[in-house]
Subunit: 183 residues, 2 copies
């Protein structure tokens, strides 16, 4: 079975060097100098590092067939050698968001906020992966992870800027922006 | 925080007596005489019982606003005194199902199989709860749980019969039917 459970461990050493850490909304988390993404074989709580967040890879919960086919055709996997920069952005959405029905959430994400369309524009340059945390009782709902080459750093900032202006983002009530450089 | 993580423990004693256990599809699980549903404060693996399955309560992933409003208005919670009978039905769906996009899965569940509409007909008599297991690497994708009064036992069989004939159910490749009686 492929690994679907990952720990993101903030510590004094690790795979990625933290180049900046800023709290955009809600409570901050402790500053760390390094971050490591570790596959877990089970859900046993790991107590390593200064802090550690757990996320699970799931099926796509909003993406429709046409979008899914396009994504599959152009996206690239994590771990490319040229992707020496990264970002780890844990996010939490409000209770109002989670009390919405599936069609209401989809409408806000796509018809109004064009989330998938926006992300698609930056493929394959910005590789990304979504880890779910809400259902396992973690502090954040999602752990988002991005990898890109230094030449695409500006495009990445543009992508985030576009997403943060959307109606979808008005439901985000905690967001930490952690930028990374491969050690 | 409300408990969202539960262990379902099969053993020689427990809260519910197992009145029958049958494998409808896929590999069977070991026979047990009793079952207990235990809220867990975290995801630490519990090693109690003859077997144990873990499930998490999540947001509704297919239900649209109109359906959600109707459900909220008529459904009743688990734990009613009159509900002395129950059923625990762990289910697994095929990889084909999981590779479908959100809109394709929704179409099969609702337009073609009328899953929500069918369940709605038996409310509030048959109380039910869905526990998600797939994302946490468990043997089943879903653990479904039902509680009802003896006078509704026939209606419950009818509900299952209707669901099992649907196109959605053609994607189910493992299903164990465990019937329960409150001790």
């Amino acid at each position: 079975m492929t690994n679907t459970i990952f720990d993101f461990i903030g510590d004094n050493s690790g795979e990625w060097e933290v180049t900046s850490m800023s709290t955009l909304k809600g409570n901050p988390i402790e500053m760390v100098s390094h971050l490591t993404k570790v596959p877990q074989s089970d859900l046993i709580q790991s107590e390593t590092g200064i802090w550690s967040f757990k996320g699970i890879i799931s099926n796509l919960r909003y993406t429709e067939k046409e979008e899914k086919d396009k994504l599959t055709a152009i996206q690239e996997d994590l771990g490319r050698k040229s992707s020496t920069l990264g970002a780890f952005i844990p996010i939490r959405k409000s209770e109002t968001w989670w009390s919405l029905a599936q069609d209401e959430r989809r409408k806000i994400m796509e018809s109004k906020s064009e989330h998938t369309q926006t992300g698609m524009k930056y493929l394959p340059a910005i590789a990304r992966k979504l880890f779910h945390s809400r259902d396992i009782g973690e502090a954040f709902d999602f752990l988002t992870w991005f990898e890109y080459a230094p030449t695409d750093a500006e495009a990445f900032d543009e992508l985030l800027h576009t997403l943060r202006k959307t109606e979808e983002w008005s439901y985000v009530n905690r967001e930490i922006n952690i930028r990374l450089k491969k050690v």
